[in-house]
């Protein structure tokens, strides 16, 4: 239960970190709440760890009218505490509360959770359902990877070995919208057996314009379903979810049980998100915030 030996670098700048990552066998250490257990259990043995905890400029959490951008060193706890982030995109705080336990959230990072790409983790599903993106940098340059292309497989992000995920972007909640997060786990703070993040946006006439669900724990990567056509009726949405998820069974839960959970949780989260969207629409007044490009979001 002790980590294997590795070479260690603690750069102070992003450029120095990228140079260190350009060496073969290097791996990023940020919060370490997934990587260090893997090292302790000797399931991973990187030749070199590039500890980015001292890198300047990666700790910024910016909430603007367009959305929330979390730098690579933004801890779960900080993302969950931020009133600005909760105003712009309330789903982030709702999901972060389900990530492990408080002590783990004090170290673990939002971007690290995305880069770990565990299909049972909360934040990949959130990034996927919101259509967010990850900004990656290497000595070769920078690129933006949309959520839809970022989760290549279980524990497999679409990052090259020399790339550092420098930030993640979660788009703002549009006007007249609501969101909800629901999951079921064996024990509080454990990885969920199944979970879902739902967003609902209403048109100016109060009808559902868009309803989307992002699932965790029911596939190899976060699964996004468009619930718009079935959102009016909770039972229909639950049946739709059951038909469209493809979970595996394991020692914790059978595939059938996970499929059942996907239905129940979809119904529950959809009701909650729709109720919030309706409340927002009433607060908003008819057309009050039309055309502001999603600015402000849910108050």
């Amino acid at each position: 239960m002790k980590p294997p030996p590795f070479a260690y670098t603690a750069p102070r700048t992003v450029d120095a970190a990228l140079e260190a990552l350009a060496e073969p066998g290097a791996k990023v250490l940020a919060g370490g709440q997934s990587l260090i257990p893997l090292l302790n259990m000797r399931l991973a043995a990187p030749a070199r760890l590039v500890d980015i905890n001292g890198v300047a400029g990666l700790g910024a959490l910016e909430a603007t009218a367009a959305g929330v951008r979390a730098g690579a060193l933004v801890r779960h706890a900080a993302a969950g505490r931020s009133e600005g982030a909760a105003r712009v995109q309330p789903l982030l705080r709702r999901a972060v509360r389900h990530v492990a336990h408080p002590a783990v959230r004090n170290r673990g990072t939002v971007v690290g959770s995305l880069a770990h790409a565990d299909p049972a983790a909360e934040l990949p599903a959130v990034l996927a359902v919101l259509g967010g993106a990850v900004e990656a940098a290497s000595v070769r340059g920078r690129r933006t990877i949309p959520a839809g292309a970022f989760f290549a497989g279980p524990l497999e992000p679409a990052l090259a070995p020399d790339e550092l995920a420098v930030s993640a972007f979660f788009p703002a909640a549009p006007p007249r919208s609501g969101s909800a997060f629901a999951e079921t786990s064996r024990r509080h703070g454990d990885y969920a057996l199944a979970g879902v993040a739902v967003t609902v946006a209403l048109g100016a006439d109060g009808t559902v314009r868009s309803a989307r669900a992002g699932y965790l724990g029911v596939g190899a990567t976060p699964l996004v379903l468009d619930l718009t056509s079935v959102a009016a009726e909770g039972a229909c949405a639950a049946a739709f979810a059951r038909e469209n998820v493809d979970p595996d069974g394991d020692v914790h839960a059978s595939a059938d049980y996970r499929r059942h959970l996907a239905g129940v949780l979809t119904d529950r989260a959809l009701r909650e998100a729709t109720a919030e969207a309706l409340a927002e629409a009433r607060l908003d007044g008819p057309g009050a915030r039309d055309g502001d490009g999603g600015g402000g979001g849910a108050a």
């Binding site: 030996p5 260690y8 370490g32 259990m41 706890a77 002590a103 783990v104 170290r107």
Partner: protein, 161 residues
Amino acid sequence: MTEETFEIVLTVNGVHRAARAPARRLLSDLLRHDLGLTGTHVGCEHGVCGCCTVLLDGEPVRSCLMFAVTASGRAVTTVEGLAGPDGRMSPVQQAFQDCHGLQCGFCTPGFLCTITAFLRDTPRPTDEEILEAVSGNLCRCTGYQNILRSVRRASDLMEES
């Protein structure tokens, strides 16, 4: 092969401490083996049990999920640092004694550190907040009821003082 070592400088319980260790030295092991502070207990070593919880710049963290070298330059509080300078138990420690909040005591250092930070931030918690706060710490003896009582008692003691 000789492993490269790093100079690690920490403020532990208000005292400046230095040690040389390889990068793979866990903070929990540095505290126990290099600094001799065996109050921090090590249970699962993969972040599940919470026994090794210490305060890093005042915030609870798993010391088994952090390399000591990463913590260099920062302030760590362990269970040894919770009592007052005269050796008087802190309100949280006193409450654990009053309410029989421990039996074998293995998990207790983690609980004490976690609850100390929790009550600092949330002096009058609800029962639900208490459950959430201690949810990351496992105890195999008490059945938790007396630990929850201890948190409420500590909150009362802090308000009285």
